[in-house]
Amino acid sequence: MSTAVAKSAKKLKTREEGKPNILLTVLLIIGCLTVLFPLYMTIVIALKSPSEMTNDVAGALSFPSSLSFSNFSEAMRVTDFWNSLLNSFLITGLTIGLSLVLHSLAGYSIGRSMGGNKAFKFIYFYIVSGMFVPFAILMMPLVKETAILQIDNMLGVILLYVVFYMPMNVMLYCGYLKNIPQAMEEAAEIDGASTWTTYWRIIFPMMSPMHATVAILTALGTWNDVMTPLVIMSGSEHTTLPLAQLNFQTQFGTNYNLAFASYLLALIPILIFYIICQKSIIGGIANGAVKG
């Protein structure tokens, strides 16, 4: 018995102080190449002038002899980069703002009322089941509907995103609310605060870890989405960053350096965002997975 204890103590020690597994580290670093290689290729081709692109592998993948930034200025001109960037920012930003307010309100009222109220329980399942409705079935009717309501523009896209992300976000907020004891609100209400003030003063700030998760998940989804703006905004002259890449495919032609400069430009904003907030993005998503 005493040997077993000693053995387990030894094991415990090796677990905590053990050396990092070098072989595994090397394998994982090699595996990274599958992720980094396509990005390396994008950067190298974007920085090259078309004359350097020969027909062999080296021509495409070698490091450019001189950095050519003219691809970028040309790509910005062709795709109207700053306008599409602004549109993407507007759509993503407003979607996040509306989602944080409307979804957390809905999540709160549903989460607190569905225990004793059948109507709220129904609303919960009604909204969450929206997760299984594919965009394909909504697409054609939504094109008609947004045209009739005259929101076949950015506003329409924003409202649609608020609806598309509602099932997931309401579920996340409802789940998170279980961690917040109801005693808080009861105490505030005894002090004479209304439900509305209690919510904004106490509950909304307490849900901030979930706000981060919701904001990140919604942001990644809306920033990269092509299908919704493609079908809804096709009538207007506005585009988003990914949609511009689709619309200007024919103008890029066989000038791959121009095309890749444009792809890189479109990827840079989210890459910067990711480099700055990597920890909170990964943490936020992990948080959503555990709570959801």
């Binding site: 387990s8 592998v57 909204i127 299984f132 990597q278």
Partner: protein, 295 residues
């Protein structure tokens, strides 16, 4: 007495109703109403413009005899099944690796998560260049005949190209979910198993996997659903070709419903697609929750 309790309750209830109402109205307007209109159009011969007639179940009967629709279902399921298996196996292995004692842990996690934040469309364009130019050029240089042509141009292999891109992007998200699952397993469970003399494979099979099961089911349902709805990669890699061999259900509905004058017919297709997705999700939920109960 009960009236006294009820009164403040009802005031609170009023606020709660006010809180849920804006979201609920939007949801009805942009989810339920289009869902119902879509279902309605599936019984018509509407072309997207002009007048139309009710045609009863005609569209649904035609749907099952339409070879293009049939092959789009075949492609989508082939893609979703292979993709879900590959994604989950790769991301589970990666998560185990990234969760063990390694150097540069957070940097490696950061890199492996990168594909998830990138636009599927742009990733598709980048891989399209890779498949069309780089790999054939490398294949020719190495003298490998099999690689010397673009797989995206091959009717029988283009779907593998789409699959590679889909998997490349989806692995990231599932890996993070598996890692957060692994972190919920307390360390003393592993200590107990090592005291009992279990080897690593036994530990994984008897301990890690069962404890991870809720996350496995989340991941399976998530990736199946996402893979069944594949669209962006098709748009940038193959546009459904060659010879419609990579036409996914979503892509076909978009292509022929929006521009092809098949609004009614493709609405019927979308209704069937909706039913298929719900059925697949419910079956997966049932199966995994049964497994979880057994433990």
């Amino acid at each position: 007495m009960s009236a006294q309790i009820r009164k403040p309750m009802s005031k609170r209830m009023k606020t709660h109703i006010g809180m849920v109402l804006p979201a609920l109205i939007l949801f009805i307007a942009f989810n339920t109403i289009p869902l119902i209109t879509g279902a309605f159009y599936s019984f018509t011969n509407y072309r997207g413009y002009g007048s139309y007639d009710m045609v009863g179940l005609r569209n649904f009967i035609d749907l099952f005899q339409d070879s293009r629709v049939g092959s789009s279902y075949l492609f989508t399921f082939k893609y979703a099944i292979c993709g879900t298996i590959l994604v989950n196996v790769i991301s589970l292995v990666l998560a185990l690796g990234l969760n063990s004692r390694i150097r540069f842990k957070s940097a490696l996690r950061g890199i492996y998560f990168l594909p998830n934040i990138l636009s599927g469309l742009i990733v598709g364009y980048i891989f399209s260049f890779l498949f069309t130019y780089i790999i054939p050029a490398a294949g020719t240089a190495l003298g490998w005949k099999a690689l010397s042509n673009s797989i995206l141009a091959s009717e029988s292999w283009a779907w593998v190209g789409v699959l590679i891109v889909g998997v490349w992007q989806s692995v990231a998200m599932n890996t993070i979910i598996y890692i957060s699952g692994l972190q919920t397993i307390p360390a003393d469970v592993y200590e107990a198993s090592s005291i009992d003399g279990a080897n690593p494979w036994q530990t994984f099979q008897k301990l890690t996997l069962p404890l991870l099961l809720p996350f496995v089911s989340t991941n399976l349902i998530l990736s199946t659903k996402n893979m069944l709805m594949v669209f962006d990669q098709i748009m940038s890699l193959t546009k459904g070709g060659p010879a419609q061999s990579t036409e996914s259900i979503s892509y076909l509905i978009y292509r022929n419903g929006m521009d092809g004058g098949q609004f009614g017919f493709q609405s019927a297709n979308a209704v069937v697609f909706f039913v298929v997705i719900v059925t697949v999700s419910v079956i997966q939920l049932r199966l995994t929750s049964k497994k979880e109960e057994q433990l």
